[in-house]
Amino acid sequence: MLILTCPNCGIAADETDLAPGGEAHITRHGPEASDDEFEGYLFHKRNPKGVHFERWRHAFGCGKWFHAARDTATLEVFGTYPAQTLEPPKALQALIRKKRPDWEGFQK
């Protein structure tokens, strides 16, 4: 069972209190975007085996969105961080590099 600590209210929330929001830090291109760009936004997800960044919502709790970094293979949670950011905090990236030396690093 996945337990993520919501950075908005501080509760260590069970997976069943949360709603998944898919891959984090993806770019939705603007109104003039091409079909290919929109297709990429909708369908072309990274889906890695290993380090992954996701969006979650504390649906049954405070109701707010946040980000989580975890390993999709081991379910180890590296950390959670606020929704209002375009990339994972530097300290969290450093922690993940330390735990997963072969990680290719954060990619937009």
């Binding site: 908005n8 209210c9 501080g10 509760i11 260590a12 929330a13 069970d14 069943t16 209190d17 049954f60 709790g61 405070c62 109701g63 707010k64």
Partner: protein
């Protein structure tokens, strides 16, 4: 004007713990920037209490206030006084981005008393119900079975629970079942 009736009209149950539907309870949702001094001032003027910290619930002589999310508090007051409280908040917050709504009749509220109140809720909520996980004076929003609920303890053996009125009857039946006599072996 039709007479107001609460979700379960004050129904009671006695089993492993005692359960009571609280009857008419005034509740006002206030959303806004909780860090704004004007918002805090409006709450203070409305119920006489300072803005709660994250997950905190406070009770006073003139009502209560509970932290619901980073931009939302729930004010507790007399059922008859809820509309006046909304008007008071709106007046105090002219020009300040906010939303105040009387949600009294959209909610159901229950009180559980007895030694095993934490255990009864723990049967259906994926929450840490231990005294360390949910200290007295802290409110937890989670779910009971399949339905959203918020609950807190005001004393060691007194637990309060709020849910949507539309599922109030279901909640009462769920609680009755979870609190059936002789179903808390480690406690009673």
């Amino acid at each position: 004007m039709p007479e107001a009736v609460s979700s379960m009209a004050g129904a009671e149950f006695s089993g492993a713990v005692d359960i009571r539907e609280d009857g008419l309870q005034g509740m006002v949702t206030l959303r806004g920037d909780l860090g704004d001094a004007k918002v805090a001032g409006a709450v203070k003027a409305a119920v006489g209490l300072a803005m709660p910290k994250a997950r905190q619930i406070k009770k006073g002589k003139n009502g209560g206030v509970a932290w619901m999310s980073p931009d939302e508090v729930l004010l507790l007051c007399d059922h008859a006084g809820a509309d006046a409280l909304v008007a008071k908040l709106d007046k105090a917050l002219v020009g300040v981005h906010h939303l105040a709504v009387n949600v009294s009749d959209a909610r159901a509220m229950f009180t559980l008393t007895g030694t095993g109140v934490r255990e009864v809720i723990a049967k259906g909520a994926p929450a840490d119900l231990s005294p360390a996980g949910l200290p007295i004076g802290e409110i937890r929003r989670s779910r009971i079975g399949q339905i959203a609920a918020a609950f807190w303890l005001s004393e060691a053996e007194t637990l309060h629970l709020v849910c949507f009125r539309s599922v109030g009857a279901h909640m009462f039946r769920w609680l009755e079942n979870a609190a059936a006599a002789d179903t808390l072996p480690g406690v009673l």
